[in-house]
């Protein structure tokens, strides 16, 4: 079930979306969207608020039923799967929600350990150790483990949510706004964490974000969404040269420019 167990054949996509249409009533959210995410890549979805990024994420992880089209994850069609059929797939990915979605009646350690208890046959002590390890991996202090989510700051809650998403050593991680609401220091900690996870574990990561710094530092490829379409897909450098007005606005607005200059300085 690990990334290394199923070595990625070149060209085989982890996520393959074809002609996806989503509608809420008469409101068109996705209009014939096609998108491919390759193994081992950090793929980012960006776009203005309400452009359907999170909706696309929810469609991929089967929380939302699109109108038509096809979404293949690990070469398996996810649209129309029932819960039983979806389980093997769900065990291969981890999801970190925008607001954490930690179970508020469990401590942080219990939140992480619960996933392991549910899906593995390991001993209780090893599960506790693994939970503590995952918490440590996300950069949380050890004393955060016995705390309840309501006792944590927003940034710590994000990290705890990431620890839970990683609990099963999933080979595909979905991160919804991993750095939103974090201070710059924690946010750059997340950048590094995302990259080191990918490098060490060979994960594929798909994230939705507004954070231009995170995009420059971590993302291999970026898709810009707007008006229900994918306006452009490519590396940050390619996108920053794009002529499309919305993409230009996104990357060459005051914040976009600052992040761009930063990125150049680092190089």
């Amino acid at each position: 079930m690990s990334a290394a167990l199923t070595p990625a054949q070149d060209g085989a996509a982890v996520i393959d979306i074809r002609e996806l249409n989503t509608r809420f009533g008469s409101n068109v959210v996705h209009d014939n969207i096609s998108l491919t995410v390759h193994p081992g890549e950090i793929f980012a979805l960006v776009g203005g608020s309400g452009c359907g990024k999170s909706t696309l994420l929810r469609a991929i992880i089967m929380l939302l039923q699109p109108l038509s089209g096809s979404i293949r994850v690990f070469d398996r069609e996810v649209i129309g799967l029932n819960d039983e059929q979806a389980l093997p797939l769900r065990r291969r990915w981890g999801v970190m929600f925008e607001r954490g979605a930690l179970f508020s009646s469990l401590t942080v350690t219990e939140n992480v350990a619960m996933v392991l208890r549910e899906h593995t046959a390991l001993s209780a002590s090893l599960i506790d150790e693994l939970a503590a390890l995952k918490i440590a991996l996300t950069g949380l202090p050890a004393d955060a483990g016995p705390k309840y989510p309501s006792e944590l700051s927003g940034g710590m809650r994000k990290r705890a949510a990431l620890a839970r998403a990683m609990a099963l050593d999933a080979e595909l991680l979905f991160l919804d706004e991993p750095t939103a609401g974090l201070d710059p220091l924690s946010a750059s900690g997340i950048d590094e964490l995302v990259r080191s996870l990918r490098d060490a574990l060979g994960l594929t990561i798909m994230m939705v974000t507004h954070d231009l710094d995170l995009l420059w530092r971590a993302a291999d490829r970026v898709a810009v969404m707007g008006e229900g379409h994918i306006l452009g897909v490519g590396t940050m450098t390619e996108l920053s040269r794009s002529e499309h007005p919305i993409i230009r606005e996104y990357f060459h607005g005051p914040r976009g420019r600052a992040a761009l200059e930063q990125a150049w300085k680092r190089k």
Binding site: M1, I135, A136, P149, S196
Partner: protein, 379 residues
């Protein structure tokens, strides 16, 4: 044959060879799904008594954080016993992972919660009970103060939420309150009819139904229904607002939480509950009347005539007079428990339950006190 899907660890020989190094062969998938059996085996594994250990890991086909942790833990345990351990021929990407795990796992054991003893738990419970009691008292005090304050300045009272609460807690409760007290009157008449008929005292069915419903049962029944319907809703609403920090937001905007959330509910309930009680009186007596006619042949007009003689005005008013007190209890307990919610969804559920149990308990206690006092005053 070696199963590639599970992790394996084989100690080559129990005797220490002349080189002084024991080979340990690791192979297979050291992953979350693969290490379960190995973990069990490692617990009882007899390591050779002395000599250096060389983990030959060339055959490890997969490694994830769980497998890396198991390997790291095993090695560390051996090193703590003073053994020299080397890991050999691990794939480069795997050893990066192992280093990452080793660097992050300084003291993860500390993350485990300390166990609390029995005595500590009893002490904590008792202390929490005391704190809760004093909190309740100060909450009642604060609400009374705000109530007095806004009665002195009636233009500051928020009428819209009061009207809304009147509708939700009062008007919308009419069907259920009416139906239940109708059935209650019906049942009382049914139970009493046989006994009264035996003594030829058929007409006293009106006394039985009238007095028991008007004085005792309809105020109590109505209060219990409203505690279950509205008291719990108050606790859940305020509790959820607390979880989502809406209460804090109200405070920062400069709106008093008692003024905005507690007062309208309490005033609305104090108005609604007596009215509901009157409605319950009517429905209960009607139920009794129906039963009296079908079982004892007491006609409606005879029943009503007798009811007027049997139930004095003071009996009727003592029944209704209890209702505002019950209303205050229900609103206070519901709101107070709502404010006691802390952080979690679980806590909302728990406090809502507590609010219903407590308010029904307190309503019945208050009813008993009323009986004693009325008996004293000879009402």
């Amino acid at each position: 044959m070696i199963d590639e899907r599970i992790a394996q660890l084989v100690v080559e020989s129990s005797a220490v060879p002349s080189t002084g190094t024991v080979d340990v062969r690791c192979s297979g998938a050291w992953t979350l799904q693969g290490i379960a059996t190995l973990e069990q085996r490692l617990k009882g594994l007899a390591w050779p008594g002395e000599g250096d250990l060389l983990f030959d890991s060339s055959a490890v086909s997969a490694l994830d954080t769980a497998g890396a942790w198991l390997l790291h833990r095993t090695v560390r345990a051996l090193e703590q016993r003073g053994r020299n351990v080397r890991i050999n021929a691990l794939r480069p990407e795997f050893s990066t992972l192992l280093q990452l795990i080793a660097s992050r796992s300084l003291m993860p054991e500390h993350a485990l919660a300390a166990k609390t003893g029995m005595l500590t738990k009893i002490g904590q419970r008792a202390w929490r009970g005391l704190i809760g009691l004093s909190g309740m008292l100060s909450f009642v005090g604060e609400s009374a103060y705000v109530l007095a304050h806004s009665l002195a300045q009636p233009q500051r009272i928020r009428w819209r939420p009061i009207l809304y609460n009147l509708q939700a807690a009062g008007f919308e409760a009419l069907p259920i309150v009416g139906l239940l007290s109708f059935l209650m009157g019906f049942v009382i008449a049914y139970q009493g009819a046989d006994q009264l008929h035996r003594f030829g005292a058929d007409i006293f069915i009106a006394d039985l139904v009238g007095l028991s419903m008007l004085r005792e049962l309809s105020p109590l029944l109505t209060a219990i229904i409203v505690a279950g319907r509205s008291g719990s809703a108050y606790a859940a609403q305020i509790g959820t607002m607390k979880v989502t920090e809406e209460i804090d937001a109200l405070r920062t905007i400069g709106i008093g939480q008692a003024e905005m959330l507690v007062l309208p509910k309490m005033l609305a309930l104090i108005i609604a509950l007596p009215l509901l009680t009157i409605w319950a009186d009517v429905a209960g007596v009607f139920g009794g009347m129906l039963m009296a006619r079908s079982k004892l042949d007491v006609a409606f007009n005879v029943f009503i005539e007798r009811l007027g003689e049997a139930v004095s005005l003071s009996s009727y008013l003592t029944g209704i007079g209890k209702a505002p007190v019950f209303a205050a209890i229900i609103a206070m307990v519901g709101c107070y428990q709502g404010f006691q919610v802390s952080g979690s969804a679980d806590s909302v559920g728990r406090k809502t339950t507590v609010s219903v149990v407590q308010s029904i308990f307190l309503v019945i206690v208050a009813d008993a006190l009323f009986s004693v006092v009325f008996n004293w005053l000879d009402l």
